[in-house]
Subunit: 247 residues, 2 copies
Amino acid sequence: MTQEKSTQEISLAVIKTACSNCNLRELCLPLGLSEVELDRLDDLVSTRRRVKRGEYLYRAGAEFDAIFAIRSGFFKTDVLLEDGRDQVTGFQMAGELLGLDGISSEHHTCNAIALEDSEICSIPFSQLESLSREIHTLQHHFHKVMSREIVRDHGVMMLLGTMRAEERLAAFLLNLSQRFTARGYSHADFFLRMTREEIGSYLGLKLETVSRAFSRFQEEGHIAVQQKHIRILNVAGLKALMNHQPI
Amino acid sequence: MTQEKSTQEISLAVIKTACSNCNLRELCLPLGLSEVELDRLDDLVSTRRRVKRGEYLYRAGAEFDAIFAIRSGFFKTDVLLEDGRDQVTGFQMAGELLGLDGISSEHHTCNAIALEDSEICSIPFSQLESLSREIHTLQHHFHKVMSREIVRDHGVMMLLGTMRAEERLAAFLLNLSQRFTARGYSHADFFLRMTREEIGSYLGLKLETVSRAFSRFQEEGHIAVQQKHIRILNVAGLKALMNHQPI
DNA sequence: CTGTGTGGTTGACTTGGATCAAGCTTGCGC
DNA sequence: GCGCAAGCTTGATCCAAGTCAACCACACAG
């Protein structure tokens, strides 16, 4: 990489990182905004940052002043209990927001860690509130995003409270698949960014159980697994597995 | 009850049900608002409704157009899976909001059922958004409430994913106790509004397991149980139980 | 190309909580 | 006051997932 760039190159770079030119805008905060409104949001989303694999985007306890939109890459969030136990509360991919949990107490309540080299947009929260007082569409969409997070969490509670191991993993794979599809990737062929242990933590299972369930799915022809490479061979089969039998 | 009331009585009743005169205003949506702002919120929160024990406040799938504040009483929310399994996702008491999950899809995603005769305030959502575009404090507080719901859900995920049965129940009792305290009730002597089965559903356990855990807590002198009547004898003991050992 | 470390798989066994079953308590309608 | 239903408790047994342990598959540093 060169240190110097022509003005042309710089302006191109700026354009490329603005919401208005981001190909995730229909998944992310800008959904439904007009040209003019988008420009105003662009002013706000000025800070961008690279987060390398394994680095923290923020830590539990850190002061909250901005939410983050993932431009590219993959994150996990986890909470820590006083006694040392921890749990992954979610995996986030491009176009999704991070940090909503921090609004309530003005401090982050979980850690956000990059699972691959990632790029994020930082959105100062007080400015977002101020802009959403002016732009109804932005306000409403932001409320929808927060509400969607609550609904998602209820889904996870459901999974943890009522599903057995294989059902949990099937639900997890189908969810990932569906989110990859929404981003234009293959629904049936992808690489996991997280370890078996992280999947287990998220699903309330031990890594051995996750591994065994993967093997079982493979034996039964639902998927092909090779380490982190997953191919879904039988979506219907996984769906059937997912709501098979009550606990 | 008489059918007719004097003007005096009616106006008194109206005053009594306004946010400005509600003794829950410091727990509920009006937190931090000025007199003038409170009056504007009062205009909005005009519809009130009684919900008898066992009745639905709303059902999953129903159109969403308002959120609800509990004025008195006790609710549970539950989600239903296609295959018939269901799970209680939360218990709500006076001063807490219901229906936030409905914003995302404009339809409720869970059922809200009264566990005792209750009274709720209905807050038309589009009007709330419109008012919070004018009143910064209201906007910010509403965001905090939504965020708090997300944090709470993460706590439940933690509980379901990493805690064993007795830890879950201890955490549940301490949480109830703390919420009763915030409402001016005894932290150590209260009646459960829900059955063992509902507690179990919420905690991802079977009712027998809940019952056994109660008995064990009693044997060990942490609490005294008599059906739904709970007395906490040893808060520290319960806390110790809560973060005892990893799964 | 070789050693080392991290992550994944598989097997043997153990166990916490589910399941099944019986009996008890409380409250309500008649 | 009696009968019945809903909810709670307790015991015996079972099983899904956890634990412990050995081994395999890469990736990467030297």
